[in-house]
């Protein structure tokens, strides 16, 4: 057992001085694996490719430490972004789901393909991005998934050629130093986020990636879905930082959660009757 200095310091900073002076530091279990995070410095300018565009290549972890932060002593701050403007029927549908039902519909729980923007929003593990002039390669550790997108601004496939795909029909272009990835024809089985945010066949996803410095990557996405939302919605910019580790193998080969949650759903349904 020990006193957790980092958490006590953060708590002290957030409390009024008088209250902080009286605050007794809480005692916590010391365990190997707890992380006291240290943010990376900017690290200098972002590298550029032979064509002068920003090179987004690297292994990227969510947050500012360049490492996994699942067991960090600092909680994730809520993102400052607008509420999602659901149409009333869509809002009611999401709110009608029990927590267990939301879990059972979440591709991140069932190990179904997470799609776009799920590769960022329904993925707690690192990303490896490789950019070359004309190409964006995105590998994620979560279930060893990947996508490859041309960055030459080519048009989407014609209507006759489109089919519903988990990652949709994707094309990308550079707007200054920001890579803009545009996706349509996304399979309705995917979710935008793991909280029940489903979508229609009219979904249009616009993702933006930029590298403000060597050690940092930022990601933002816009959702246009006129059958589900009242207007387009754009997320806050999310911060990722450059890791020094390789991705590891992470295939979803033993998923007991679905059966367990189904049993729980039956218990809860019985309780409700």
């Amino acid at each position: 057992m020990r006193t957790h200095v980092g958490a006590a310091l953060v708590a002290a900073c957030l409390l009024p001085a008088a209250a902080a002076a009286q605050e007794k530091p809480k005692t916590f279990v010391e365990a190997r694996g707890n992380v006291v995070p240290v943010p990376l410095p900017p690290g200098g300018p972002a590298p550029r490719m032979a064509d002068g565009k920003v090179d987004l290549s690297g292994v990227w972890f969510a947050g500012p430490t360049g490492k996994a932060n699942a067991w960090s002593v600092v909680p994730d701050a809520p993102l400052a972004q607008d509420a999602v403007p659901f149409q009333p029927w869509a809002d009611a549908k999401i709110k009608s789901m029990s927590r267990t039902e939301r879990e059972l519909g979440n591709p991140g729980v069932t190990c179904a393909p997470v799609g776009v923007p799920g590769m960022f929003t329904i993925n707690p593990y690192p990303h490896q991005i490789v950019t070359t002039p004309g190409l964006f390669v995105h590998l994620i550790e979560s279930d060893n998934r990947w996508r490859v997108v041309h960055t030459d601004g080519r048009p989407h496939k014609s209507k006759d050629e489109l089919e519903p795909l988990y990652n949709g029909d994707e094309t990308a272009r550079w707007e200054g130093d920001t890579l803009v990835i545009d996706s349509i024809s996304i399979d309705e089985q995917t979710w935008i986020q793991g909280n029940g945010w489903f979508h229609s066949d009219a979904l249009h996803v616009i993702e933006r990636l930029r590298r403000p410095s060597l050690n940092y990557l930022e990601y933002q996405f816009t959702i246009e879905d006129p059958k589900v939302l009242t207007r387009p919605w754009t997320s806050a910019w999310r911060t990722y930082s450059l890791g020094k580790e390789d991705l590891t193998e992470n295939f979803c080969t033993r998923n007991e959660n679905v059966d367990q949650l189904r049993k729980l759903n039956e218990v809860e349904a019985g309780t409700r009757r």
Partner: protein, 141 residues
């Protein structure tokens, strides 16, 4: 003192800029964060897979009979990076360990999600989310 202020500033910076990464699933949907206990027994098996690794501990029930407790751990991604490698966990096979776990909400007996294991060599090793707030790390619910 400057070092102290530097640490505080760094931690606050982290709090402002961290990008939330959603977990594989919400812990509290499946396990009861208010029904947690420490189980002592012999580590009988480790299955190092995803989305969760599992381990099994043989315990002695109230009537003296052997019971098997199943513990769900984090993913191999989090375990490896947190020091709970396959080699570390399997080194305690056949030996006495203590595992802290929270019970399944669906009523299945002897099924838990684990937060730490005290290994046979005495090391307390993190293996799962902090749902009780016992580590001072971020709390997952």
């Amino acid at each position: 003192m400057n070092a102290l202020f530097g640490l505080v500033a760094s931690l606050l910076l982290l709090g402002m800029s961290a990008a939330p990464a959603s977990a594989h699933h919400a812990f509290a949907a499946e396990f009861d964060a208010t029904n947690c206990s420490e189980v002592t027994g012999i580590l009988s098996k480790v299955d190092y897979q995803n989305p969760h690794a599992y381990l099994w501990v043989n315990t002695t029930g109230a009537g003296g009979q052997t019971e098997e407790a199943t513990f769900q751990l984090s993913s191999t991604s989090n375990l490896r990076r947190g020091g709970a490698t396959y080699a570390v966990l399997t080194a305690s096979l056949g030996k006495t360990v203590i595992v802290r776990g929270c019970a399944a909400r669906n009523g299945e007996k002897n099924r838990y999600a684990a937060s730490f294991i005290k290994l046979a060599d005495g090391v307390v090793q993190r293996v799962g989310q902090d749902v009780e707030g016992i580590f001072g790390t971020k709390i997952w619910r």
